[in-house]
C-alpha cells in the first residue's frame, strides 16, 4: 500500500470533506427520518420507525405540495429549455460582437447574489410608484401576490435559461460549417436551416439540459424561499424541498420537526442518488476514464 501513499495524500482533504459533508449527511438524513426528533425531544429522541413517512403521506395537503412541485419543475424547465434554445439560436443569428454581450447579460441573473436578484423582482412587482409592472400596466397591485407562479417561474427561469443557452451555443458552434454551406446551396432559408439542420443536431444537448435541470429544480428552493417563502395563501408556491426545509428548520412558533423534515429530505436524497447514477450510465462514464501513464 505504501506506493499509493502519494495519491491518498492528494485525495485526503477532498475525501475528508466529502465524507463529512456528503456521506455522513446522507446517512444521517436517513437515520433522522426514523426518529421523532423535534424541538422538545431534541435531548431524548426515540425511534419511531416509519411513522414519519406514514405521517407524511397521511397529510391531506401533500397532494397540493406535489402538484406545486410538478408545476414548478415542469414550467420552469420548459422556460429554461425553451428560452435557452431561443437565446442560443438568436445570439447565433447576429454577429458575434452582438451575440456575446447579450449572452453575458443573460449570465447576470445567475451571478448576481440571489438576495439582490430577488429584491429586484420584489421591487419591480411591487405596487406603484416603485413597482415597474404596476406602472406599466396602470394597475397598482402587488404582482407577487396576484401572480405568484408567474413570478416564481420567471425568476427561476431567468436564472436557469443561461445554462441551456451556453450548452446549446457551444453545440451550435460544433456543427460543421459544411452543413450550413450545403443547406444554403440547397436553397434552405434560415428558419429551414434551423429546423432541419440545427435542431436535430441539438437533440442530445437538449436531453442533457433537461435531465440535469430536472434534478436541480426538484431540489432547489433558494429563490422561492426568498421570493415568496412558499406563499402566498395556503402553500401557494410551497414545493417539496422547501416544505422539507420549513418543517425541519423554520417555523413561526419554533417547534421544528427535524424527523419529519428529514423524511421529506430523504425522499429527495434517494431520488438524487438514483437519478445521478442514471446520468452516469447514459452519459458514457467509462469513456471519460483513461489510464494514467505514470506509475510512481
Amino acid at each position: 500500500m505504501r506506493r499509493y501513499l502519494t495519491p491518498f495524500l492528494f485525495l485526503g482533504p477532498a475525501s475528508l470533506l466529502i465524507l463529512l459533508f456528503f456521506f455522513t449527511p446522507v446517512v444521517a438524513t436517513l437515520l433522522l427520518s426514523f426518529t421523532d426528533l423535534a424541538t422538545t425531544t431534541f435531548r431524548h429522541p426515540s425511534w419511531v420507525g416509519l411513522a414519519n413517512y406514514r405521517d407524511l403521506f397521511a397529510d391531506p395537503f401533500l397532494k397540493k405540495i406535489l402538484a406545486n412541485t410538478a408545476r414548478y419543475v415542469g414550467l420552469t424547465l420548459a422556460f429554461n429549455v425553451g428560452m435557452g434554445l431561443l437565446l442560443a439560436l438568436v445570439t447565433s443569428l447576429v454577429p458575434e460582437n452582438w451575440g456575446d454581450p447579450f449572452r453575458a447579460l443573460w449570465l447576470l441573473p445567475r451571478i448576481l447574489p440571489p438576495v439582490v436578484y430577488v429584491f429586484i423582482w420584489q421591487g419591480m412587482l411591487a405596487e406603484a410608484p416603485m413597482g415597474l409592472v404596476s406602472d406599466l400596466l396602470g394597475v397598482s397591485k402587488n404582482w407577487l401576490v396576484e401572480t405568484p407562479w408567474v413570478a416564481v417561474i420567471l425568476a427561476n427561469g431567468f436564472v436557469g435559461a443561461s445554462f441551456g443557452m451556453l450548452i446549446f451555443t457551444s453545440a451550435i458552434r460544433a456543427i460543421p460549417r459544411e452543413l450550413f454551406y450545403a443547406a444554403a446551396v440547397d436553397g434552405a432559408t434560415t428558419l429551414q436551416t434551423i429546423r432541419r439542420v440545427v435542431i436535430p443536431m441539438l437533440a442530445w444537448p437538449i436531453l442533457f439540459v433537461t435531465a440535469y435541470q430536472t434534478l436541480s429544480l426538484l431540489t432547489s428552493f433558494e429563490y422561492i424561499l426568498l421570493l415568496t417563502d412558499g406563499g402566498p395563501g395556503f402553500y401557494g408556491t410551497e414545493v417539496w424541498s422547501l416544505h422539507a426545509y420549513h418543517l425541519a428548520l423554520s417555523n413561526y412558533f419554533g417547534n421544528v420537526e427535524f424527523g419529519l423534515g428529514a423524511a421529506m429530505a430523504a425522499v429527495l436524497v434517494v431520488i438524487g442518488v438514483v437519478v445521478s447514477l442514471f446520468y452516469l450510465k447514459i452519459f458514457n462514464f467509462r469513456a471519460l476514464v483513461t489510464e494514467p501513464k505514470i506509475e510512481v
Binding site: T39, T40, T41, F42, R43, D55, A58, D59, P60, F61, K64, A126, E127, N142, L144, V145, T228, D229, G230, G231, P232, G233, F234, Y235, G236, L249, S250, N251, Y252, F253, G254, N255, V256
Partner: protein, 445 residues
C-alpha cells in the same frame, strides 16, 4: 534607582485594573418591529447602571453586554435561537414570547428556572401579578415579563365617514364592540356595504395578519372556542367554534371583503394598504401603532394622523351580547440553562425592571408596561386608551405542544381562505391533524 521606584509604583497602581474581570453576557432580542429596539436598549441601560453600582461597590468585575436585536421575523429568529440552544452556543439572555415558548423550551431543558433569583430582587415585586402566570410553567418561574400588549381591531374612520357614518357613531363603535352589540357579522355587513358603495376596493374590507401567529387562536376564541383545559392540562379543539370561525372567513372571502390571498406573508403590503387608508377594518397589535407612527405615516403627521384616521376596539364577539376578546402575548426575558452566569443574568433582568425603562419601551414601541408603577407614571394617550383592553385579554396556554395545535389551526384557516376546502372539510382536517400530531394531548369537542 529612582526609576525603579516609579516603575514599581506604576505597576502597583495598575494592578487593580488588570485584576478586574470583564464578564460578557450575550443577549438576543427581537422586535421584529423596529421601534421595539428598546428591548435591547433597556438591557444595555441596565448593564450600565449595574456597572456603575459595581464600581461604587468596588467589585472586581464589570459586565459587558453583547446584544443583538433582530428585525427580520420570528421565524428565522426562533430558528436561530433553537439551533443555538441545541448547539450549546446559546446567549445568556433570550427574549421571546412567554407563552408557549417557555413551555416548549422548559420542556426541552433549554432555559433555566429563575424563581429563586426573582424572589431576591425587589424590583420584580411591582410586576402585574397576572404576567407571572405567563412566565410560569409547571409551577416554576422561567422568565421575567418584558412587556405585554393588546391586539385591537382597528378601523378607518375616514372610510366609515365616507360610508355615511356620523362622527358620533364612529366614536361609539369601540363601546358597541365592548358591549357585544357590534359582532363579526356586523363587521362583515358594514364592509360589504362599503364595497358595494365603492368606498373600498375588493378584498380591503377586512385585513388580518399576513402570516402565522397567535392571533388565530384569538379569533377562534372570539368565535367561542377554548384551547386549553386547565383541569386536565390538555389542549382542546372545539369543532363548533372552529366551524363558526371558518364559515365567517369563507363568507368574508366570498363577499369580496377579505382577500383570498390575505396570508401572503407580506407585512409590507399589510402596512402599506392600511396606512394608505384603503382598508376599512384591520386586526393588528398595539405595537403597530408605534410602527405606523414612526415609519409609515411619519411624513404625514405621525401620531396625529393616526388619531385622525384610525380608531381601535376589541376583537368583536360572534353573537350579539357576547364577550369581545383580545390576546396578550407577553414578552419575557429568559436565562439559558447553558449560561455560565445565570445569577448575573438574572441580576441584569432585575435592573431592567425599572419604571423609567419600562415606560420608555412601552411608549416608544406601542406596548403595554409590565410594572404597576409605570402604568400610573405614563401620560401616553394611546397606552391609556388601550389599557382597558387588558380586562378582556387572554393568553396563550403554556403547553409545550401548543405550536402543533396552532399550526394545525393555521393550516385550516389558510386552506379555507384560499378556497382549497370548505369550512366543514377544514374542521375535520384540522381535527385529524391535531389527533395525529398531538395524540392524547388534545381533546376534540
Amino acid at each position: 534607582m529612582r526609576k525603579w521606584w516609579i516603575l514599581a509604583a506604576a505597576v502597583l497602581a495598575l494592578t487593580p485594573v488588570f485584576a478586574q474581570k470583564t464578564i460578557t453576557i450575550k443577549a438576543w432580542t427581537i422586535g421584529p418591529d423596529d421601534p421595539s429596539i428598546t428591548r435591547l436598549k433597556n438591557l444595555e441601560a441596565a448593564v450600565d447602571r449595574l456597572n456603575a453600582l459595581l464600581a461604587i461597590e468596588g467589585a472586581d468585575y464589570r459586565v459587558k453586554l453583547e446584544g443583538d436585536f433582530d428585525t427580520t421575523d420570528w421565524d428565522p429568529y426562533l430558528r436561530r435561537v433553537l439551533l443555538a440552544f441545541q448547539s450549546g452556543s446559546a446567549p445568556d439572555i433570550v427574549q421571546a414570547s412567554a407563552a408557549p415558548l417557555i413551555g416548549v423550551w422548559a420542556t426541552a431543558g433549554y432555559i433555566a428556572p429563575i424563581g429563586d433569583e426573582v424572589s431576591r430582587y425587589g424590583t420584580f415585586k411591582d410586576v402585574f401579578p397576572t404576567l407571572w402566570n405567563a412566565v410560569t410553567f409547571k409551577g416554576q418561574i422561567f422568565g421575567t415579563p418584558q412587556d405585554t400588549e393588546a391586539r385591537p381591531l382597528y378601523f378607518n374612520k375616514t372610510l366609515l365617514k365616507k360610508l355615511g357614518w356620523s362622527d358620533a357613531k364612529i366614536a361609539e363603535l369601540p363601546k358597541m364592540i365592548e358591549k357585544g352589540e357590534f359582532t363579526w357579522d356586523d363587521l362583515l355587513a358594514t364592509a360589504e356595504e362599503a364595497l358595494k358603495k365603492g368606498v373600498i376596493e375588493r378584498g380591503k374590507g377586512y385585513y388580518h395578519r399576513p402570516k402565522n401567529g397567535p392571533d388565530f387562536l384569538m379569533w377562534y376564541r372570539a368565535f367561542g372556542g377554548t384551547a386549553y383545559d386547565p383541569a386536565s392540562g390538555k389542549l382542546v379543539f372545539d369543532k363548533a367554534a372552529a366551524l363558526r370561525y371558518f364559515t365567517w372567513l369563507k363568507k368574508a372571502v366570498d363577499a369580496g371583503v377579505l382577500e383570498k390571498d390575505r396570508l401572503d406573508g407580506n407585512w409590507k403590503r399589510f402596512h402599506q394598504n392600511v396606512t394608505d387608508g384603503k382598508v376599512l377594518f384591520f386586526s393588528g397589535g398595539t405595537w403597530n401603532w408605534a410602527e405606523w407612527k414612526s415609519q409609515w405615516v411619519k411624513d404625514r403627521g405621525g401620531e396625529s394622523w393616526l388619531w385622525q384616521h384610525f380608531g381601535f376596539a376589541l376583537q368583536p364577539a360572534y353573537e350579539k351580547g357576547g364577550r369581545p376578546v383580545t390576546l396578550s402575548n407577553p414578552q419575557a426575558y429568559m436565562v439559558s440553562s447553558a449560561s455560565k452566569h445565570k445569577a448575573l443574568a438574572a441580576k441584569i433582568l432585575a435592573f431592567v425592571a425599572m419604571p423609567d425603562l419600562d415606560a420608555r419601551h412601552a411608549v416608544g414601541s406601542g406596548h403595554l408596561p409590565v410594572l404597576q408603577a409605570t402604568a400610573s407614571l405614563t401620560e401616553n394617550r394611546f397606552i391609556r386608551a388601550v389599557s382597558y383592553m387588558l380586562n378582556y385579554t387572554t393568553f396563550q396556554p403554556q403547553h409545550p405542544d401548543l405550536p402543533k395545535w396552532q399550526n394545525a389551526l393555521y393550516r385550516g384557516v389558510s386552506a379555507v381562505e384560499s378556497g382549497q376546502v370548505t369550512p366543514e372539510q377544514a374542521v375535520s382536517v384540522v381535527a385529524t391533524e391535531m389527533k395525529r400530531t398531538l395524540k392524547d394531548q388534545v381533546m376534540i369537542k
